[in-house]
Amino acid sequence: MRTDRFGQAAIAGLGMTELGKVYGPSPRRLAAQAVRAAVADAGLTLDDVDGLLVSHGMSGSPGIELAETLGLRDLRLLTHMNAFGATAGAMVSYAAMSVISGAADTVACVFADAPLKPRQPAGSAYDSAAREYYGFTGMTAALGFRSVNAFYALAAQRHMARYGTTGEQLGAIAVATRRWAGMNPLAQMREPITVDDHQNSRWVVEPLRLLDCCLVSNGAVAVVVTSADRARDLARPPVHIWGWGQGHPGHRLERGSEFGLVTGAATSGPVAMKMAGVTADDIDVCELYDCYTYTVLVSLEDYGFCAKGEGGPFAASGALAPGGSLPTNTGGGQLSAYYMWGMTPLSEAVVQARGHAAERQVTKNDVILVSGNGGILDHHSTLILSPQPRGHRP
C-alpha cells in the first residue's frame, strides 16, 4: 500500500457566514455565501473551484443545485453527502481523495442550515409534538420519544448506571467548553458558568439538563481542499490532512447491544490515526462533536484518551479546559459557540492549526483530532489535521 500520497491534501480556505439567529437568507444563499468566503479566504476565485460537496441539516437544502447558484462551470466533482453529523469529516476525506487521485484540484465542502425561526423556542426546531400519532412508530413518539434528546438521555443513563458517571462530570464538560467560548468572539454563549449553574439548569430529558445540550444555529460554513503543494502558495497557512476514518457500528436494538456505551469513534479513530501515523498520545488538541456533553465523554473513551468507563473522571480532572492536558473544543463547541453540525469542530480545528485563535490559541497544535458524530452515536468520522506536512515529528 502506498502511503506517501496520503498527506498530500490540505485545507486552504475557511468561510463562515454570520451564525446564530440569522433569519433572512435561505440555507442555499447561506451556503453560497460560505463557499464564496472560503474561496476568497484561500486567495482563489470561483473559477479555480472544480469540485463541490454539499451537505445540509434539518432544512433539507441545499443540494447540488448550489453549483448553479454559484455559477460554477465545468466541475469535475459534484455531489450531495449525508452521514448526519459525520458528514463534514466525510466530505473532507472525499475531497482529499479526489485531490490526491487527480479527480479534482480544488474542492469546496459546505454545510448550511436554517432551522431557527423567529419567535419560536430553539428546541422546537428539533422537536415534534402532534395531536394525533400514527402506528407503532407514532406510539413511541406519543409516549415521549419526540426528539433526539430522549435517545441521548438513554445513552448517557446507560453509561451512568454501568460506570458510575455523574451529572457533575457532564457538567465539567459544559463548564470547560464555556471557558473556551469566553475567548471566542464568534461564540453565541460566552458568560462563564459553574458546575452549580449546570446542576441548577432545568432538566430536558433527565439525566440531561439544558446545559448538557447544544445550541441551535442558522448559518453556513465551508472549507476548500486542494493539494498540499498548491496550498503552500495560497493566502493562508495550509492545514494538512494527515488522516481520516469513518465508523458506523450498526448497533442493533436487541440483546447484547452496546448502544450508548460504544460509538463509531472506536473504529474511525484508529483508522484515521493509523493513516496519520500517530497514536492518541500524539494528539495535541481535540475538536469533538458535542451535540451533548455526553457525546464528548464517550468519544474521549472511544478515541483512547482514557479507559472505557473513565470518561467522567477524565473530564472532571480539568484536562479539557484551558490550560489542561488535552485542550478540547477550544472554540466553545456546539454547546456554547455555534451548531453547524460537523463544521463546528472542523472550523475551529482550521483556526487553531493556522495559529489564528488569538486569546484562545493553544500553544501546541501539531496534531489536531476532529470528530464528527451523527444519529444516536451511530455514525462517526475522524480527521487528523496539522499545520505541518505529514511525517513531521515534533
Binding site: 400519532y133 438521555a153 445513552a155
Partner: protein, 148 residues
C-alpha cells in the same frame, strides 16, 4: 388510567396486528419463521436471512430494563403547570428485541439495569391502546402464552 399528556394514537395500516393485540392486552411483535428470531413490531425484514416475510407472533411480555430517562416538558410561557414528567425506557424483551417504551408505576430510585418488567396496556377513551411496562416482583412471571 395514566395521563399521558399526548394526543390520540391511530393505526397506520402497517401495524394493525400490534394494535389488535394491544386492544386484547397482548404484546404482538415480529418473528422470522426461518431463523426462529424475534424482532420489534416496526421491523421490516429479518436481519439474519434477509427474508422480508416476518410474521406477527405473541410475545410473553416479560422484559428487563436496559436504560431509562425522564422527559420533562418545556416550562410554559404563561406559567401554567407543565404536563407531568414521562418515565422513558429502553427495555429488552425476553425474546431479545429492545423497545423504546414508557414505564408506569415505578419508583425512580429503584431503577437499575436488569430490573424485571412486564408489558401492560393502557386503554384511553379515544384512540388505540398503548404499551407500558411495569415492574414485576420477579417471582411470578407472566404466562408466555396465556389465552392462546
Amino acid at each position: 388510567m395514566t395521563d399521558t399528556g399526548f394526543g390520540v394514537l391511530r393505526r397506520d395500516g402497517r401495524t394493525d396486528a400490534f394494535f389488535d393485540g394491544a386492544a386484547a392486552d397482548q404484546l404482538m411483535i415480529k418473528w422470522c419463521p426461518a431463523c426462529d428470531r424475534w424482532f420489534a413490531p416496526d421491523a421490516s425484514g429479518c436481519t439474519d436471512c434477509g427474508g422480508p416475510e416476518l410474521v406477527w407472533a405473541r410475545a410473553g411480555g416479560q422484559a428487563t430494563l436496559v436504560s431509562w430517562a425522564v422527559s420533562h416538558a418545556r416550562p410554559r410561557d404563561d406559567g401554567s403547570p407543565a404536563p407531568a414528567p414521562a418515565m422513558l425506557a429502553l427495555v429488552e424483551l425476553a425474546e431479545g428485541p429492545w423497545l423504546h417504551a414508557r414505564l408506569d408505576g415505578v419508583d425512580a430510585g429503584l431503577l437499575r439495569e436488569g430490573l424485571p418488567l412486564a408489558a401492560a396496556f393502557e386503554h384511553p377513551g379515544e384512540g388505540e391502546a398503548y404499551l407500558v411496562f411495569r415492574p414485576t416482583t420477579g417471582e411470578e412471571p407472566a404466562d408466555a402464552h396465556r389465552g392462546l
